[in-house]
Every structure is written in C-alpha cells, then in structure tokens.
C-alpha cells in the first residue's frame, strides 16, 4: 500500500483523539459545531484558554489544515483551545443565505458564554483573516483578556470586494460574459439578492452589514485599553500560513510537477504567537492578583 512521505505531523505530540471533544452547541434553532482541545501538561486545571475565531466562510476549505494544527500546537503548549464553525458554515447547521456578520458575532458570544460556564479563566480571542473583524468587536465589548489578529482586513466591505474577484475569475473561466462584472453583482446585492461567491451564498444582510463594519483596534475604545492585543501581518511570518494555494483540480499532463504547500512548516509562526499569548496571559494574571 503506498504511503505518502509525511512531514510536520498534525497530531503534535501524537495525542489520542480523546484529548479533543467535538460536538454541537444549540444556538437559536441551529447547531453550532465546535471542537475543544484539552490542554496538555501539568497545570491543565487552570490552563488559560484560546478561542479561535475563523476562518472566514469561503476560506475554510483551504485554511483548515493549518488552523487545526495551530489548535493542537496551542493545546500541546498548555492552553485549552476552542474552535468552532459559524452558523451556516462548515459543520454548523444553518442556511448560508440567512447568515451575516451579526450572526457570527452572536456565535462568538455564545462560545465565550459556554466557556465561562465551565469556569472562568484568562481568555485570548484569536481572529483569522476576515473573522478578525468580529473577534475585534467582541473584544472591544469587553469579552476576552487578550486579542490576537492574523491578517485582518481594514473593513468588511474591503474583505467582500476582494472575495468578489473570485466570482469574477470563476465567471471568466466559464466564459460567462453575461455576468455583467463586479458592478452587476454589487447592484444585485444592493437590491437584496443573494450572490454565490466561491461556493458561499452571500446574503443581502451580509452585504448590508459590511458597509459599516470596520476594523477598530482596541486602542480606540475604552474597554479595549490596557488589555493586550497584537496584529500579525504577512510580513511577520504569516505568509507561510497562507502559502497553500486554492487548488481545486489536479494538474494534468506531462508538465513539470508543481509543489503546492499542503502542510508547511509553521513552527516558527506558532512558537512566536504562542509565546505572545503566554506572556499576555501571565500579565493579565499578574494584573488581577495585584
């Protein structure tokens, strides 16, 4: 039986599946999928927590491997980690055409509440990409003790306009000259009609809410001040995380083999960010006990 050459084990310290609990929370009428990674090490009972928020809907299928590896890395480093899929995405139930940024904001709040029910501990909220916008919003509302953002967009509208290019590229690949281009899709959304982008159906509410949703870093808010936060950009080693191309169909023919990253070495990125979380949580703890 053939076996691929394996690198960068995604199982970290080869923990068994029992260290990860996957289940659903009932949120509204829907089931919110989550995975809880138990902290490993000697002080698990009081282990600080990390809530992973993301990836953004249409990015999930090609960022998931690295994101799960990050969760396992943090758990091995002694953090309790919760990750989840927003309603209408991934494993969570719900109609894509009915969800929006405010839906997903509620989902983050539901997760934080669920974690608090299990006993309050220092919490880092970590947003990936477009999901960072909502991660920032909940942090500015006073939830969480530290905030980590990886490559957040300046605004939700910037995010969606960037993603709309994928729809245009798909139209071109199909030779669909009748699509009318970007302006036509924007007009459609403005008129309250859903548009399918990269396999995800954008609801009119998603588009409408994107107009006023901007990245507001904690410095600018009362509740955000004095709580640690960090923004990591591509220049900080995040480029390797995003290195995997969005490849959907196998290469054919006798062309030279491509090497599209599936499982790149992210140990440097992971270590640095885990260290920052650890230091932030220590500072928070010191602040609370002083």
């Amino acid at each position: 039986m053939p076996s691929p050459r394996t690198v960068n084990s995604s199982s970290g310290s080869r923990r068994e599946l029992e260290a990860e609990t996957a289940d659903f929370l009932d949120v509204g009428r829907e089931q919110l999928y989550y995975v809880l990674h138990a902290a490993q090490g000697s002080k698990v009972a009081a282990a600080p927590r990390v809530l992973l928020v993301g990836p953004f809907a249409s990015d999930r299928s090609h960022q998931y491997i690295a994101w799960v590896r990050w969760a396992r890395f943090l758990a091995n480093a002694g953090f309790e980690v919760m990750r989840f899929d927003g309603r209408g995405t991934g494993e969570s139930s719900g109609q894509q055409s009915e969800v929006s940024f405010s839906t997903w904001l509620e989902d983050i709040e539901a997760c934080v509440a669920w974690l608090d029910q299990r006993g309050k501990r220092p919490l880092t909220i970590h947003g990936l990409g477009g999901a960072g916008l909502n991660a920032c919003r909940v942090f500015n509302r006073g939830l969480g003790d530290a905030l980590l953002l990886w490559a957040p967009p300046e605004s939700a509208r910037d995010l969606l306009m960037g993603l709309l290019r994928r729809r245009l590229a798909a139209d071109m690949a199909l030779g669909a000259s009748k699509s009318g281009g970007r302006d036509a899709y924007v007009a459609q959304l403005e008129a309250g009609v859903s548009v399918e982008v990269d396999g995800f159906e954008w609801s009119p509410a998603l588009w409408r809410e994107s107009k006023d949703l901007r990245l507001t870093l904690p410095d600018a808010t009362e509740s955000g001040k004095a709580r640690p936060y960090k923004v990591v950009g591509m220049e900080d080693g995040l480029a390797r995380f995003y290195a995997g191309e969005r490849v959907g169909a196998p290469q054919r023919g006798r062309a030279a083999a491509k090497r599209t990253p599936l499982n790149p070495d992210l140990s440097d990125l992971f270590s640095k960010n885990a260290d920052w979380i650890r230091e932030s949580m220590a500072a928070v703890k010191a602040e609370k006990t002083s």
Binding site: R15, Y64, A170, L174, G199, G248, A249
Partner: protein
C-alpha cells in the same frame, strides 16, 4: 434533522465524522433495515464539509429525504488526527494510487455494523470518487451503490516517486494527449489539407469527404494508446465496477468544460447500471452556476429511483441533462 459527531477507530486510526440523522417521519418503521446509508469521504484535501460546504449541504438534503448520511475526515484531514505529506500534489498522488481505499472500506463496514444499515453507498468528488472506486473494487467494501463526482483518471505528476505501484500506461507514440485529442487533431489536419487545396483551385470548400474522415478515425482507433499519465489501475477498477450490477451515479461537468480524457474513459466503459449526467455551466467543484443545486437534485432523484423505501415525494427534475448511452467501447490497445 439533527447532526451528530461520530468518532470511530478504524484500522487503529481515529476518524472524526458527522452523521446526518435522516428524517424518518415518513419512513415505515419495519423498513429501516432496508435503507442504505451514504458515506462521503473528503473531496481531495478539503475538510469533510467540502469545497464551499457542498458535501454538508448535499448531506442535509439527502437526510431530509430519509437517508442516513455520513461525512468523514480521513487521517490527517479536517478534524481527524494523522500525518500528511508536504504538498497537495503528493497527497493527490497517494489518493490516486489507492492510498485511502482500504481505510474507507473498513470505515463503511464499521458504519454499517454500528448503525444497522442495509449497506453503505460510497461517494465523493474527485479524490473522493477515486477512493470510493478503489474501496469498492479492491477492498471488498461491497457498497450497494456508488456516487462519483468528477472522477479524474490521470495521475498528478510529482517530483518524487510515490511508494507503491504506479498506474501509468505506455507513452503515446505520437506524444499526443487523449484519444479524443488524437482523433480531433487528425481530422483537423485532413480538413486543413482539403480546404487549402480547394482554395488554391478556386473551388467551393466542401466538407471533408466522408471516406477521408472515416479513414482518419479508423487510423486513430487502431493505433490508440493511453497517455503516459493515465491511471491504469483506476481505469481498470472503474471499468470493472461499471460492468458490474452495482448501481452508479456519475456526475460531471459537460465534455466541453471537463477533461476530454476523463470523459473518454467514462464514455468507452461498458455501463451496466451507470447513470452518467453532465451538469452544464459549472466547474469541477460544482460551486458556481447552480452546480450545487443540480448535484443535490440528481443525487436525491437517483437514490429514490435506486433505493426506494422512504415515503416523501420526489423533488422536481432538474434541467434535462445529457445522459451518456452505454455502448461497447472500442478496445484501447497498449504497447
């Protein structure tokens, strides 16, 4: 319908999946043991929800029609622990050479036992389709049916040899691509010669003489070779299944949008219980142009026609597709 997380250990490996509990309100209680389940494995390297959450949505659709549906992450993918190679291409090659067939067959047996199902239909897109074929053909998965979306019958080039047997056939002596490409090129060459001559002579350009075209086709068919990157093992497995009584639903994009070689393989296999539907105006992942809805429609209708037993009425038929007709394939010779 409710979803449930399922965690199983198969061949010593922990696997995580989602079970879409079917709507059984219309199902006669005495017939539950007659209902097959449906198992979708990963579409390539994507997590079990699929690209654009296609698999999750289709599973919800089929469960609402009364069928138990499972979606599982194979080792290293999605939520299942495990190791992966460094590149996507190396993983694809692993799948194309049957790497996930055995564990998928074992998983299907475990689900059948655990949920008391009459059988487990195997399904997937691209790499998932390939795995379903190998599980059924080489590992006695014994599925009551197969759902294959965009199966790919070529081997992805990798810059290092993967372990295990390869699948490449002999190289084409003319260095051309698929059989269809070879035929097409010959016809074009012949037509170009005729039109050039006619133009020079100031004559009206007529369609190439029938005998010229027939000669070109016969020449190509007699000397046809599989391309160097043909996945011979997979092609053999597919043809074996296609000639068997196992019902199969094959969904692809249209020939004009798909890969000619893959469609040639489908077209030239002897189909005994195969329903092949080409879905227009969509792409390989079925995530644009209404492909998602069409996939759901065709799957549900096929399940109801092949595996009846639930009480809900059929959904309306989708836009009339092009359905291939099973024919005896011309023999493809190998050097």
């Amino acid at each position: 319908m409710r979803r449930h997380v399922v965690q199983v250990r198969v061949m010593g490996k922990p696997l995580v999946g989602t079970y879409h509990e079917p709507s059984l309100s219309m199902l006669e209680p005495t017939r539950t043991a007659e209902i097959p389940g449906v198992l979708f494995v990963n579409f390539g390297q994507t997590p079990r929800a699929g690209w654009g959450d296609l698999t999750a949505q289709v599973a919800t659709r089929l469960a609402s029609a009364g069928y138990p549906v499972f979606r599982f992450d194979l080792p290293g993918l999605g939520d299942s622990p495990g190791d992966l190679p460094e590149t996507i291409e190396a993983y694809w090659r692993y799948v194309q050479e049957g790497g996930e067939g055995e564990i998928t067959a074992a998983l299907s047996h475990e689900l059948r036992r655990r949920y008391n199902l009459s059988g487990v239909i195997l399904g997937g897109l691209c790499g998932g389709a390939i795995t379903a074929i190998f599980a059924a053909a080489e590992h006695q998965a014994a599925p009551p049916g197969l759902i294959l979306l965009e199966p790919v019958f070529s081997l992805t080039p990798v810059d290092e040899p993967a372990a295990g047997s390869g699948g490449a056939a002999t190289a084409s002596p003319r260095g051309l691509g698929s059989v269809k490409a070879m035929v097409g090129q010959t016809l074009r060459n012949g037509r170009e010669q005729i039109t050039t001559s006619a133009r020079k002579a100031g004559k009206v350009i007529l369609p190439a003489p029938i005998f010229t075209m027939a000669k070109a086709v016969r020449s190509c068919v007699r000397s046809a070779r599989l391309p160097a990157d043909a996945n011979v093992r997979l092609i053999t497995a597919y043809r074996k299944l296609a000639a068997s009584p196992v019902p199969m639903l094959v969904l692809t994009v249209t020939t004009s949008r798909g890969n000619p070689f893959d469609h040639d393989i489908l077209r030239h296999a002897k189909h005994r219980a195969v329903t092949w539907i080409e879905i227009p105006e969509t792409n390989h992942m079925f995530v644009i142009g209404g492909g998602r809805k069409a996939v759901g429609n065709h799957m549900e209708n096929w399940l109801r026609s092949r595996f009846p037993g639930v009480g809900r009425p059929h959904h309306p038929q989708a836009t009339a597709p092009a359905v291939s007709v099973a024919e005896e394939a011309p023999k493809l010779a190998r050097a």
